[in-house]
Symmetry: D2
Subunit: 134 residues, 4 copies
């Protein structure tokens, strides 16, 4: 896996509206992928804070890439469930979205996502997800 | 509360990227608001199905409107947590997103969201949320 | 399905510690099962309120019975995920735990649980669950 | 904080039925508490595996102790929400239940729990929780 392949997957597998987030691959290792979500006025709600909808969309997207990264290729899968907890607001900086594969079985995969401010490094959002492998 | 006020709230309180969903108020009663999410190629992932990211964003947005509807005005609040379950895919039709306020306390509000196909009426997604009232 | 079969399933498939809850079948229909959780000092935490641990255990157990009820027999399954929201405390009365099967697919089943006071009928807890059918 | 205080809290604040789990403090640091859940036939469901109900109860209980540990004393709080994911079964060994405080605000606290086999060290269950501080 490399940055180009992950960025290509972002362009290929996601809806145009999700691609508007301008997510891009930042780093990755065997079990995780980190995406950068660039700061944008288009993602800010009243008060200038990154909207929660963008955090959830970025978390789900990062997890799909973490599974592609782990399997070495795209494998059809579908999100079964995602639980997201919003710890605190984020404003005035990019976000780093790290998705980790916790476990993959025959038909299910489990992951966890942590979103942090790219500048201050503070965690603002946690999510856990279940995917069905098709 | 009326359609115009709810549609105005959609334009006023949400990030431009969320407004791109083109959500609009469909019906409402004392405890719930139903939004219509129009079918769009921009929200479709590989295979033509409505992407889960759009469902989560619509669910969260509908709940904010259900709280505005219940309180009779915008009240500052923030999503604490949202759990979403994806029951089955949706394609080829609008979605109806019904958010119900389950309980409001002094500092917390609880809600549930059901997303159905506007044509076939079948439930495709359920979410439950907790909001902090500020 | 009948009360005897459901009560027999409660005795057969659950851990002894779970059977200590003294859950028993109250009513059922095609898609749901309602269990009664009798009030007990052994389930009360400081302050006399029904402990959340008992609510979660009852919710999970009720869902297993709702699946048995729907399939007409015990089918090996395992809880993949459960999200529980605690709306308000319950004290001084039995609880009624209603588990509804929302959807069953080939390998996954989805359910929702509502817990109410048996006397005042007010909802105190909601849960949503995903089960893997083995 | 010390083991005696944590074990005393286990005896004082929890329902008798929860105390039947025989949880005891294993280790702790500034942000986390680890409890040991001893293997017991009374917690095993059909097949000899630790029942999910016991994992959820242990996770919730460990988090309450992690908050006591962090605040240096018992502070009235109530579980708002808990999401639990069951990664794989556990049998034939004790479980170690580690609860970490992720963030505490004025009125809300967030935590995450990991349950592992005490012998093989493999993670079998993850939970995330929100508590209201009263």
């Amino acid at each position: 896996m490399d940055h180009e392949k992950l960025d290509a997957a972002l362009a290929e597998y996601f809806a145009p509206w999700v691609r508007d987030l301008s997510l891009r691959a930042e780093t990755f290792d065997a079990d995780s992928v980190t995406l950068r979500l660039p700061q944008s006025d288009r993602l800010a709600r009243l008060g200038g804070m990154l909207c929660g909808q963008a955090m959830m969309a970025a978390a789900d997207s990062a997890m799909v890439l973490a599974l592609i990264n782990q399997f070495g290729q795209f494998r059809p899968c579908t999100t079964v469930q995602m639980n997201t907890v919003f710890l605190k607001p984020l404003s005035g900086q990019d976000a780093l979205v790290r998705a980790s594969v916790v476990r993959t079985g025959k038909s299910l995969a489990f992951g966890e996502i942590d979103i942090r401010g790219a500048t201050d490094g503070r965690s603002v959002c946690r999510a856990s997800t279940t995917y069905a492998l098709l």
